[in-house]
Amino acid sequence: MHFDPVANLQLLVSGLAIGSIYALVALGFVLIYNAVGVVNFAQGEFVMFPAYIAATFALPAVAVFGGVVHWQLPLIAVYLLVIVLMVGFGLLFNRIAYYPLRDRGWLPVVISTIGVSIFLRNLVQLTWGSQPLVLPPLFPVDTIAVGALHIRPQDLAIIGVTALLIAFQYVLFERTTLGKQMRATAQDRTTARLIGIRVGRIVAITFVYSALLGTVSGLLVAPLFTVTKEMGALIALKAFAASIVGGFGSIPGAIIGGLTIGVIETFGGFYVSSAYVDAIAFVILIGVLLVRPSGLFGERVAEKA
């Protein structure tokens, strides 16, 4: 096989794009884990559910509960609407799935998040049926030419939005009082309460923020795939692998892990076998765990201790 620099660059761009999606979802996992010490098994539904809502408002005709709606709102309006709704969803999730169980240890909360995940998938099945939906693309053209490269504008949008979100988050955690309160809560919840940080509020904000990270990934990735009730599960599974590859609990680890898995699986799908694309993330995961069980950024346990 001869080496084609253009094809490889195109692969790199698509790999970074899908990797960005994994990174955003992985960040959602890590932030919730750091705040409440529990893996949120409904993280995939934080991606899938907003994609359904968006499709419902955006498409010319969508079957909902056996009837048909014809809203077809402009995409920007749809995005804003979905984001507002998902803020409410994050608050509700915190209130119903986490808050009542907050003093019961980690297991009841884990089971509760699994319960929400199952509930949402069935709710989606009941509401929208099993017909996949296709969210209209944000851009009128499939690919744009940059020199000899043919790049999907959606890929660039994904990478750009992810970069902006990561920059936003960096400023939040490094420069703002709220961000430092979030870090303090992640490092030691009891002491955070002792010095007056409203930990309940911080946790609610964390759930909302993680829901929004899922929402943004769902809205960004939906035009590339179809919207199905399973779409979140595979993304979340790979994002979870990404956060472990990066070192679970580490924010830079989640980002680097997501990008690494996205790029390697895209190249692997092209050069090795497209049939095994979905296995590649887990091969990487096993490889990293064998060589470096704490993950790429896992040695900084001191920050968590």
Binding site: R183, Q187, R193, I195, I197, K304
Partner: protein, 247 residues
Amino acid sequence: MLLELRDVVTRYGAVEALHGISIDVAEGEIVSLLGANGAGKSTTLKTISRILTPIAGEVRFDGASLEGLEPEDVVARGIAHVPEGRKIFPGLSVLDNLRLGATPRRANRATIDRDVDEVLGIFPKLRTLGGKMGWTLSGGEQQMLAIARGLMAKPRLLLLDEPSLGLAPLVVKDVMETIVRIARDGTTVLLVEQNAHLALQIASRAYVLETGRVALSGDAHQLLASEEMRRAYLGSAVRVEEPTKTA
């Protein structure tokens, strides 16, 4: 009285850890809580700051009951609890640890920075460490930071849990002198210590806890000289059989 505990009973899981203790702390005092491991000293502090909820009895601060409050509310009322093991935030800088200490006051950035400067006046050794991450600090530095962070809340009452634990003797001396200074500047201190000799030297009064009850209490100098204290804690290996005096 600034702080009054009346017949407070607290459970720790299924175990009753405090069996009805009564303690008073007046404004401006250093009062020490002494006793062996497991006597209930830390539990008492946790009950005051409401990390633990008492099942009976009452805790009053400045005349008002603390019933139904969360720890976040208690510190806003003016009680800062510096927990055992320092518990500074390891992944935040010294300055950020201090600034977060001002959380309950809702002050603006300029006020907080001025107060950081003022608190650093009491802890000159912390001044050079401002940008360092908490986990890089030595035990003594961490203890100083934990107390300084507590002071950032501008509390009227400071609860200190074993501030000398695990520190070298010279550093302990430093910490104790700092506590005296804080009290002299007007903050009341309730000090939990295993090192009774040390605590009685700086406290005006003390309570000795034994298995969740107040076994002895009184003036620090008298306790230091008393036969019961001497037998129980200051030197000899002989244990007191039963608590004999409650004042």
